[in-house]
């Protein structure tokens, strides 16, 4: 993070002396610094682009890392013979054998602890939770044994481990199987936490997680596994990694910054298109990719351009990812806000089973659009 970002108090001091912002100027007229709607792509040659599902991207990432480093192994419930409860680990047992692709008993606390022990010993385990809901059985091991040991040992005992599995909203499975843990893990010093949306995100972030020498939590989403995305030629290579702490601008815009993550990125992009069609506003959509560390620099840069900000996520509203983004926005960018920042989150309710009620509990494209209209006073 560059040092130009300063706490709001210092920004305020600068703003007062320079007085650059006319209070009456319409944000939509005066700040057309970028061409709206242009996707930023990092590759030049589109000919090598292939369609990948998120599932295939994760599978490829695991296979490549297992191939490249003998210290990497994967363990979890049903990861081997069953090919993964969600088929993310398909064919890995056949390819790498039972020494490196290991079915565990249903014993989350036990196998998470065991994987951590193996990591303390120098191996690089990938510990799959069938869903992150079940990892609550093991959260003590993740927080107390994995995240804190390096610090408690004065730096002599690292723990290179990756915890992964589907997180957050899932359809029709009720309260115990549909919960977002981003805020839980995002609050723990010593952990790094990422949440992929697209196939490229999934591959690049998982590979980076396995290679990172710290404990990393990878929060995937079940409903994304089957979705297809274009994968650049670069991302198809076996050395493709996405650095942590860097968000991606999925859609460029000048009128509103929409900060989001995981499945909500796709919903936000749809909402952004609808807002363009209906109201002619250009919404910038930021895919966080990384929850801890969080790329506040990209968020504030965008805010400086759009002067309006909204956070979108599917977790519970209280003390959540959106709450953190809004707090940071206030701290670092208060003087750039032309309207109070807003958030769209899951409802403060245990996820209900009945479809109509479930729909009311999580952000939809409609709620995102509705809140944006209100924020922009359209």
């Amino acid at each position: 993070m560059s040092r130009y970002l300063r706490p709001a108090a210092r920004l305020a001091a600068t703003a007062r002396t320079s007085a650059l912002r006319p209070a009456t100027a319409s944000p939509f007229l005066s700040r057309a610094a970028v061409i709206p709607g242009v996707q930023r792509r990092t590759y030049a040659d589109a000919s090598g682009v292939k369609e990948y599902t998120v599932r295939d991207a994760l599978n490829e990432a695991l296979a490549e890392e297992l191939e490249q480093n003998d210290k990497v192994f994967i363990l979890g419930e049903e990861v081997a013979q069953y090919n993964g409860a969600y088929k993310v680990t398909k064919n890995l047992l056949d390819r790498f054998g039972e020494k490196r692709v290991i079915d565990t008993p249903i014993t989350e606390s036990g196998f998470a602890g065991l994987a951590i022990g193996a990591a303390l010993s120098g191996l690089h385990p990938v510990c799959e939770f069938m869903t992150w809901n079940f990892a609550m059985q093991a959260i003590d091991q993740i927080v107390n044994s994995a995240a804190k040991t390096l610090y408690m040992s004065g730096g002599i005992q690292p723990c290179n481990i990756t915890f992964r599995g589907p997180n957050g909203f899932a359809a029709g499975v009720g309260a115990q199987h549909s919960q977002d843990f981003s805020a839980w893990y995002g609050s723990i010093p010593g952990l790094k936490v990422v949440s992929p949306w697209s196939a490229e995100d999934a591959k690049g972030l998982l590979k980076a997680a396995i290679r990172d020498p710290n404990p990393v939590v990878v929060l995937e989403n079940e409903l994304m596994y089957g979705q297809s995305f274009p994968m650049s030629a670069e991302a198809q290579k076996d050395d493709f990694v996405i650095p942590f702490g860097k968000a991606k601008i999925e859609r460029s815009g000048k009128d509103l910054t929409l900060v989001t993550l995981s499945r909500c990125v796709g919903q936000s992009l749809v909402a952004a298109e609808n807002l363009k069609k209906k109201y002619g506003v250009d919404v910038e959509v930021i895919n966080l990719r990384s929850i801890k560390p969080l790329d506040i620099e990209t968020i504030i840069k965008s805010l400086k351009k759009t002067h309006r900000l909204m956070a979108v996520e599917s977790g519970f509203p209280a003390f959540g990812v959106s709450a953190e983004i809004l707090a940071l926005t206030m701290e670092y960018g208060f003087d750039y806000l032309d309207a109070p920042a807003a958030r769209v989150t899951g409802a403060d309710v245990p996820t209900p089973y009945a479809q109509g009620l479930e729909e009311m509990s999580f952000p939809t494209e409609g709620t995102i659009e509705q809140q944006a209209v209100k924020l922009l006073r359209l």
Binding site: F73, G110, A118, G122, T149, M152, G155, I156
Partner: protein, 320 residues
């Protein structure tokens, strides 16, 4: 060393928790003499003796208790969190070290070689669910794990009989063979662990050992240790079962050394500890600087760009 820690704690030089193992010396000493440096040990928060046996120096351990920069964990761990080569703590959550220890054994099997992991937990921890989870996986995958319940008769203030439906802790591995060991006899501990190590080397999988021992002090320094047991009981254990006095008697009986020689060894040990404690007390505390506060949260070179402080002005940027 533990007696020095006791004194330093009472002088208010040691902060927070401090769990001493006087009375339980034979367990740590016996185990270390039965295994190699390439084997692994993991234990609970009552860890000073093990940290010393695994290669920590008295001054670095006392230095850690005093929160010094040259302490074994650079002043970041404290009494409960000490690490050394082949020693994985020093773990503060009761029972959580047991599956972690199974993971150390898993890694030994994964990488090959004749190595074993000694995993220690107390009679209190033995009722944690994850202990049984670790037993299951260790047996299932034939891991070279020597589970060891240090039965010092009390989990904090709750006696074994009041906490455990079966107080024969060596039997609690069900499908894992168990051994009951006199944990007040260093030679018995050594022999049992030697046998256990051979057992794992022959690929027989895990063992559950119960070291029957006794802690003279309270659970921690804040516990006088007399509300849930009688002073007579403690006195009886000290006078009839003390592991150091017991070994001394063996040495004299077998004519290995004379009384004078042992007295000299004892004297030397006391003066050595005193010197080490003085050296530890002379160590500097960690400078209260952001650089030291925020180091080693993440592996060096892999840190995020900055770590947040209490207020934004205190944010610490790794790249200055």
């Amino acid at each position: 060393m533990e007696m020095a820690a006791d004194r330093l704690y009472k002088e208010k030089k040691i902060r927070g928790f401090c769990h001493l193992s006087t009375g339980q010396e034979a367990v740590a000493v016996g185990i270390e003499h039965a295994i190699n440096k390439s084997d692994d040990v993991i234990t609970s928060y009552r860890c000073h003796g093990f940290a010393y046996m695994r290669g920590g120096t008295v001054r670095s351990i006392i230095g850690e208790l005093l929160g010094r920069r040259e302490g074994i964990a650079y002043g970041k761990g404290g009494s409960m969190h000490m690490f050394a080569k082949g020693f994985y703590g020093g773990n503060g959550i009761v029972g959580a070290q047991v599956p972690v220890g199974a993971g150390l054994a898993f890694a030994q099997k994964y990488t090959g070689g004749k190595k074993a992991t000694v995993i220690l937990y107390g009679d209190g921890a033995s009722n944690q669910g994850q202990v049984f989870e670790a037993f299951n996986m260790a047996k299932l995958w034939k891991l070279p794990a020597l589970f060891g319940c240090e039965n010092n008769k009390y989990g904090m203030g709750t006696s074994a009989a009041r906490s455990s439906a079966l107080t024969d802790y060596y039997k609690r591995g069900q499908y894992i063979p168990g051994l009951k060991v006199n944990g007040m006899d260093v030679l018995a501990v050594k022999a049992a662990v030697q046998y256990g190590k051979q057992w794992t080397e022959e690929d027989n999988g895990p063992l559950v050992l119960e070291y029957v021992t006794y802690r003279y002090g309270g659970h921690s320094m804040s516990d006088p240790g007399t509300t849930y047991r009688t002073r007579e009981e403690i006195q009886r254990m000290r006078s009839t079962n003390d592991p150091i006095a017991g070994l001394k008697q063996h040495i004299l009986d077998w004519g290995v050394a004379q009384e004078d020689e042992l007295k000299n060894i004892d004297k030397e040990a006391r003066s050595f500890v005193n010197e080490e404690v003085a050296a530890a007390e002379a160590m500097a505390v960690p400078e209260a600087t952001p650089k030291i506060l925020y180091e080693d949260i993440y592996v060096r070179g892999s840190e995020p760009d900055f770590i947040r402080g209490r207020i934004l002005d205190e944010n610490y940027y790794f790249k200055q």
